[in-house]
Symmetry: C2
DNA sequence: CTGTTAGCGCATTCAT
DNA sequence: ATGAATGCGCTAACAG
């Protein structure tokens, strides 16, 4: 491949009869340029279709005007919504966004961190993998105060933005209790996941406060697993009359299970799931959900990062964003018309 | 901000008692290094936690090992799935992915193109905005053969990957016809959208072949609009007995409309929508869909790009990927058990 | 207000 | 097999 001669700052300087510094100043909006000269240079820039080289600027300065984002997947609406929000804030701050996926595997995440280090990103937004060892936390320290954890925490010393998982789940559970339900089943997936643990904790607390006995099924990871768990609990001695699901996947499975086995919702079993989903309102009955402030998670995370970049603070901030209980029919409420 | 002294190739060179050239060779896997020296240098690199500067490498070479992706939105599962696939292929080719969103606005897309030009990305994958003027096409020429259009074409001279929109919709329409339906309504959104036009064309052809009169409603952009269109067609002189929807948003609206007005699916009105969606299989009745090869769209697009980067071809390639008709219940078929 | 100069960190001739 | 020197395109002192 023959070296392509792109138009450089020198070309612009020569064509407009000024020095490169002046051109540089014009590009960077410096006010130390005579108005007429500025206009002239801008003209030439347009004529030549000059675009400054990002690489060269980055090299000459100590920042790259770019930030990195690591999420487990991009196929999950949860993460792509976060990515979308982060992307928007980046644009607003004139930064380029680099996106990588970790597949929720620590090793992968470490590789991505390395890439971002090479890219010399100014800051980092990370939805950490569910299971992280000290290795991960140590590597993150390299970015010290230029990294924000979203959804899951990285550890003390790192700023983070999260959902009020425990509180929201407690609220959902309490709602079912207020509907008179006493035998409420909690179905969860991986109990090692911080968010899941928190939600379970909220559930447990709400049950305890009402002096009800908690009924928990963990490690559910398939339709069949959920089916087994629900059926067993339903057919138990004092069967269940309510279910709270720890995420929308489990929630949808649960809905399908109840539907498949003709267990009427909500008359037999009232039901609330964490996470809102596309057709929650369209299913019959419509599904009451805990809606996380997903878009905010990304937005606030990015805003915190930029605030940090502008005026570095040593202490880390931990923000909890409130979820909303979207009341629909599956909990036992009447449809609002 | 005081200049932070990062470890450079010089540090590594000094610490391992060799020249920078040798270190550079080790990094780039050149085979012209004595094995023992190589090992030594690699050791030092690890000890010092050295990470080569992407900016410096880019500047010294004529490529950046990065490619850019422009999609209208990241919140749409269609686009985020494409992004996910592209991202995977990029990783496999050791390239960094830069993602931007155009909000489906040409001006915005042009801005993103400019940013990517500054970034000197090696190549570009673009889902163009629905409405593009010559301006857009002209700007794209700058990237000539290093740009691939996905989903929508940019114009002649540009490589592209698309769905077989017309054919797939013809197949869906034909399927309803085979179920004995004769009054089939096509509901579409923006007729300026290339994909929508193609789908409508496929519908029209299938109807024509069966000597049936086409019934078309365009420019539907809300639940209310769809509701009005369907109700009018349904209550018409010879009411409709089938519907094909041009995308999943319209499809879901249509489903909700039929459900809301107690128009039985499929006995009264059989129904197929373009685009598969999360709960299509869970709704009652389950919804027959035309499933686009979304993931492939992104993957093939990216693969074409990398192939192009490795061995440039002047002629552009236009690939059409086949969609699949996912038979479920709404078309009138029986549920497979 | 403006131009000259010296790096930024790396790949790359060209010698050795 | 290896190193010294040069330049990639730009910004940032430092003069003028």
């Amino acid at each position: 491949m023959s070296r392509i001669r792109r138009t450089t700052i020198h070309d612009v300087a020569r064509a407009s009869g000024v020095g490169t510094t002046t051109v540089s100043r014009v590009i960077n909006g410096g006010k130390l340029v005579a108005p007429r000269v500025r206009v002239r240079v801008e003209e030439v820039i347009r004529e030549l279709g000059y675009q400054p080289s990002h690489a060269a600027r980055s090299l000459a300065q100590e920042h790259t005007q770019s930030i990195g984002l690591i999420v487990p997947r991009l196929t999950d609406p949860f993460f792509s919504l976060i990515a979308s929000a982060v992307q928007r804030i980046c644009r607003a701050n004139r930064h380029t966004l680099l996106i990588s996926t970790s597949l929720d595997v620590e090793e992968q995440a470490l590789e991505e961190l390395a890439v971002f280090e090479q890219q010399r990103v100014d800051g980092l937004i990370v939805v950490p993998p569910a299971r992280q060892t000290t290795l991960f936390r140590e590597y993150c320290r390299k970015f010290s105060d230029r990294i924000i954890a979203v959804d899951l925490p990285i550890g003390s010393g790192f700023s983070s933005v999260q959902t009020d998982n425990a509180h929201a789940m407690a609220k959902a559970t309490k709602h079912l209790i207020e509907h008179g339900r006493k035998r409420i089943l909690f179905i969860g997936s991986d109990p090692e996941l911080h968010t899941i643990r928190e939600r379970q904790r909220g559930y447990a607390e709400a049950m305890a406060r009402a002096r009800l006995e908690p009924i928990v099924c963990e490690k559910l990871d398939s339709f069949e697993a959920v089916e087994g768990a629900i059926l067993q609990a339903y057919k138990g001695k004092p069967g269940i009359d309510g279910i709270v699901a720890a995420n929308s996947t489990l929630g949808i499975y649960a809905f399908q299970v109840l539907q498949k086995h003709r267990i009427s919702i909500p008359s037999r079993v009232a039901f609330i799931t964490f996470d809102d989903f596309a057709l929650a309102d369209t299913l019959r009955p419509s599904v009451t959900c805990v809606a996380q402030p997903i878009e905010q998670l990304g937005r606030v995370g990015a805003e915190m990062l930029f605030a940090q970049l502008v005026s570095p603070q040593s202490r880390s901030r931990n923000v909890q964003l409130p979820s909303e209980l979207l009341i629909r029919e599956s909990c036992g409420c009447k449809r609002r018309s």
